[in-house]
């Protein structure tokens, strides 16, 4: 939310390095036994794949690296995972949940 840089839409590409801004909190809720994303006046319930992606959004890993790690882990085709990851991160970026 800082300065003028925020005022353009971020387009997610394989080289983007997504991160959760400090005010977005990925938190495990032990009472409900599930993960939540806490955002300004919003609570999201990420699905298992989204949780795996969000956990890796540390501002260091690129989208490509995240996708390739997940492709290995789930033994799935990289290109497919990459496409899905980009589209999910674009949606999250548009909702203000991640920065890149």
């Amino acid at each position: 939310m800082s300065g003028e840089g925020h005022r353009t839409r971020v387009i997610i590409v394989p080289a983007s390095k997504p991160a959760l801004p400090p005010h977005i909190k990925l938190r495990h809720d032990p009472g409900r036994g599930r993960w939540h994303v806490l955002a300004p006046e919003r609570v999201f319930e990420p699905d298992p794949i989204a949780i795996e992606i969000l956990k890796r959004c540390d501002g260091v890993n690129s989208v490509e690296e995240i996708a390739s790690e997940l492709a290995k882990e789930y033994n799935a085709p990289l290109q497919e995972i990459l496409t899905d990851t980009i589209s999910m991160l674009q949606e999250l970026s548009d909702k203000g949940v991640i920065r890149a």
């Binding site: 939310m1 300004p40 999910m88 548009d94």
Partner: protein
């Protein structure tokens, strides 16, 4: 990714644990005191006095209990929450308890130092209300001088401290034509989110309905403006658009369903299913001073009364939308039809619907609406309380 709106699950089955159906959010009305006098204030007509407000320790206990109950987000509101000198002490405990903390403020009593302190103590988000971007009109609506300039300043500090900002713009006939400028203002302020919130007609807003109601044409135009801006500002600013239900065909799922996802604590500590619930007769409201929050949520008479669908009668009973909109709003059913178990008159199936729409059309069609009845404490009692 699905939004929890506003609660992930509500089960009629016997409870295994309290958090199986815990609320997601708690609106903490820390005080009813406010330097602004907006005629659409959501506080009740009978405002709580300063000497009846919960103490610091009592609010801190509410925060801890809320976290234990499974509440995720706490909305610190009022009145104007920053008039409480102990706001920092309450925020600190809320943040430490793991709650996502949201300050809902008009901004005019906030200082830079104080905002910095609140941020350092763990405040997560600021929601700043504006009355209009036209200075003279903003003054007329709020009965407060130079508010807009102060709000600009607050917006700057929020940016400086890299905090997320929501601009909340209550919309009515006196500012709806300025909507494009209001949206521009929010972008300029660096807001990541804007609430274009058409007034909901309860409490002070209901009293002032004839002064505030926009025409159907104005509402339709505003929806178009929001749709266009949403697309243009995708990835820049998130929109929340609240429509006025007088021109709707189906009611809103008020509070996401009664006693389903949110609870409200008044300055005195009464726990309500929604902030207008005291206008509904036949409800008993527990106080946090007498009963644990979790117990009130699960077993309080006021929460149980209209929770779920078993209280419904025709046309709600058996309606395919019964678990979508939960019969709409009990307070609106009460206010307009005199019976809180009726379907919300915003529903086209309500026998009162036509009269409801006609009221909005007649009032909004008047060229010179009546003057505002400003939100004020009744003078005699206010003096006694000071």
């Amino acid at each position: 990714m699905n939004e929890v709106a506003p609660m992930e699950q509500f089960s009629e089955k016997p409870l295994v644990e309290a958090c199986a159906r815990a609320p997601v959010g708690l609106l903490a009305e820390l005080t009813h005191r406010c330097p602004l006098q907006c005629p659409y204030c959501s506080n009740p007509l009978e405002l709580d006095r300063v000497n009846s407000e919960l103490t610091t320790a009592e609010w801190q206990d509410v925060m801890r209990q809320a976290a234990d109950l499974g509440i995720l987000q706490i909305h610190l509101s009022g009145g104007e929450p920053t008039v409480r000198k102990d706001l920092e002490d309450i925020v600190e405990v809320a943040a430490k308890a793991g709650l996502y903390t949201n300050l809902i403020t008009a901004g005019v009593t906030l200082t830079r130092d104080r905002l910095k302190r609140l941020k350092d103590l763990g405040l997560d988000h600021v929601q700043l209300s504006i009355q209009d971007v036209d200075e003279a009109n903003a003054e007329k609506i709020s009965a407060y001088k130079n508010g807009l300039a102060k709000k600009r300043e607050v917006g700057k500090w929020v940016r400086e401290f890299e905090m997320p900002l929501t601009i909340n713009a209550p919309i009515h006939r006196h500012n709806i034509e300025n909507l494009p400028n209001i949206i521009d203002f929010a972008v300029e302020m660096g807001a990541g989110r804007i609430e274009v919130a058409n007034i909901q007609y309860y409490a002070w807003a209901l009293k002032n309905r004839a002064s505030l109601m926009p025409t159907r044409a104005q509402v339709l135009k505003s929806a178009e403006i929001v749709e266009e801006a949403k697309e243009r500002l995708k990835g820049i600013m998130v929109f929340d658009f609240v429509v006025p239900d007088y021109y709707a065909k189906t009611p809103k799922p008020c509070m996401g369903g009664w006693g389903r996802g949110v609870m409200n604590v008044t300055p005195q500590g009464r726990v309500l299913p929604c902030h207008a619930a005291e206008s509904v007769p036949g409800l008993e409201f527990d106080n946090v001073k007498d009963r644990r929050l979790a117990d009130i949520w699960l077993h309080g008479q006021a929460f149980e009364k209209y929770r779920g669908t078993s209280w419904m009668k025709e046309p709600c009973r058996g309606c395919p939308r019964a678990e979508i909109d939960f019969g709409g709003c009990r307070c609106q059913a009460m206010a307009f039809t005199g019976d809180p178990t009726n379907t919300d008159p915003a529903c086209k199936l309500s026998p009162h619907h036509l009269a409801f729409v006609a009221a909005a059309e007649a009032e909004s069609g008047v060229a010179n609406p009546p003057p505002f009845v400003y939100r004020r404490m009744s003078p005699a009692k206010a003096t006694a309380a000071e």
